[in-house]
Symmetry: C2
Subunit: 341 residues, 2 copies
Amino acid sequence: MTTESKTKSKNISELRQDIVTGDWVVIATGRAKRPEDFIQSKREAKENDIDSCVFCNPEETGQEKDVLIYRTADKNWSLRVFPNKYPAFSRGKVPCSLEEGPYFAMSGTGYHEVVVTRDHYNQIALMEKMEIAEIFDAYQERYLDLMNKKTVNYISVFHNHGNEAGASIVHPHSQIMGIPVVSPYLKLELEGAEKYYRHSRHCVYCVMSEYESQAQKRVVFENDKFIAFCPFASRAAFEVWVMPKKHSPYYERITDKDKPELAEVFQRTMSSIYNSLGDPAYNFYIHTSPCDGKDYPHFHWHIEILPHTSTWAGFELQTGIEISTIQPEAAAKHLRKQIKT
Amino acid sequence: MTTESKTKSKNISELRQDIVTGDWVVIATGRAKRPEDFIQSKREAKENDIDSCVFCNPEETGQEKDVLIYRTADKNWSLRVFPNKYPAFSRGKVPCSLEEGPYFAMSGTGYHEVVVTRDHYNQIALMEKMEIAEIFDAYQERYLDLMNKKTVNYISVFHNHGNEAGASIVHPHSQIMGIPVVSPYLKLELEGAEKYYRHSRHCVYCVMSEYESQAQKRVVFENDKFIAFCPFASRAAFEVWVMPKKHSPYYERITDKDKPELAEVFQRTMSSIYNSLGDPAYNFYIHTSPCDGKDYPHFHWHIEILPHTSTWAGFELQTGIEISTIQPEAAAKHLRKQIKT
């Protein structure tokens, strides 16, 4: 059976492998569009008024049932997690392989959830430290559940803010995807960290965070437990990484004592980006070890924040060499100025 | 001397290496902006009227001296190539290395040129076959010159069209960068092609183009010498690859007999994308072997065309797993319908 007829009949996503590089792409037919929908004139930004917001009242807008809900003392919900209505990956049994000629693909089995905080206007940069800590709680709680699912080998936790960063819904929300394959970008980091350890007997991220804390050239904010800095080889202007100072390969093992410390560093960083750059669009993403049953002792989890300050053009998109027009040292200095102490 | 003070004093670009992945980024201080320039409200699309176009009359807008010029029978110029006024890489001697703590960088020595065709409104999708063939001529001619420069190990030839694809100037133009390091993305392709050859004794791109031509599921257009198809694992909706049917690792060795054939396939593909998708923004890019003195017998040059049909969000940008919302088979079918025969 061809991949085309098989996926058409089942209408599930498909993970297709690039025959040359081994990278994966997702053909998400659950979010399928007709070819005509790609015509430029028809692509308009979606209305995102609070009145028609699908996340303000998830019960009334036909969202799926919550898998997690946090409530305040007055019993109102403050945060909820539910399956994405238009999933890029669909729940199902063990992925079946789909071959066509020289190519390989498999069904896009997995989980795709949405983490929604209550207030439509209260974006992360404006939140209190403890509101942010609650989001990190939710990430951890869902992670610990999804990592035990049979089909999940890797979990991607990310947050898009702003239209230019791909957020089609204004209401603040993060996404969690549990998928059968490890991301190619994380793979490069895992291999790099392992290689660095073999040569030097040190964790490359520990070396980095210690050096940054000591050099104080690119630090945005730090406390006893976490450090935020513009990486030496920033891929985008004002890119910031947040990482634990103590070696730790697995985000899901973060302690309740450490979460407010992480939230503090994150809150200062996000509000500084908001104030310095005028509420830019951004993406952030947790880089943590896969949950494929193997150990990754030399990896060191961290969060990468990418403000959307320029359009990536041909050279960047296609070579993978990115051109940044500001020195990370100058970006960090500018961000530091906006930190409220 | 620190990287910061060194580059500040010389005001040249810097290639910084990611200590974990080994990837390179460019800090292009020649295109430097002040931190304030990144504030959202100040980022407005540039005016690009024909009256103020910097490429319509390059002599009058202070562009650098041509390195190549083609003229029509009436002595008017039809195409010219000159150094980019705001280069991401600056001409210079052998790159010097710049170290800081655990990090490594080198000066961003290289070449950055612009290929401009005369007519402000005549974008590639609207050009005649022979106008496109002339562009391929210019790519080849500049490539053959730059590949012999001491500091150049890799040449990137690309074209951005439309604001969303990073083209800040409307007037049709391509860019050529000759740089000291090989692009990480091409490296993956080189390694993948080599690995495939070791296992099967076949070129993976020959296998692909033969299979596509025979299966006729994803072909957009083909003639005797070249084939255009939507790749099985398309990273973006309506992505198209154009490749020679005969094995060839090096773009710069294309013959004068083959160039009109390439131009025919390219012209049909680009006009079909233009008609099907309503003049979308796009990037295209020549993937060809490095010019670092090594042989790459198992690589197979090709052009990748990426229409900008959606915004890449957190998941795609940061995992490297891209989500496409249309099957490549459906995209190809849609493009085929618009081919004028």
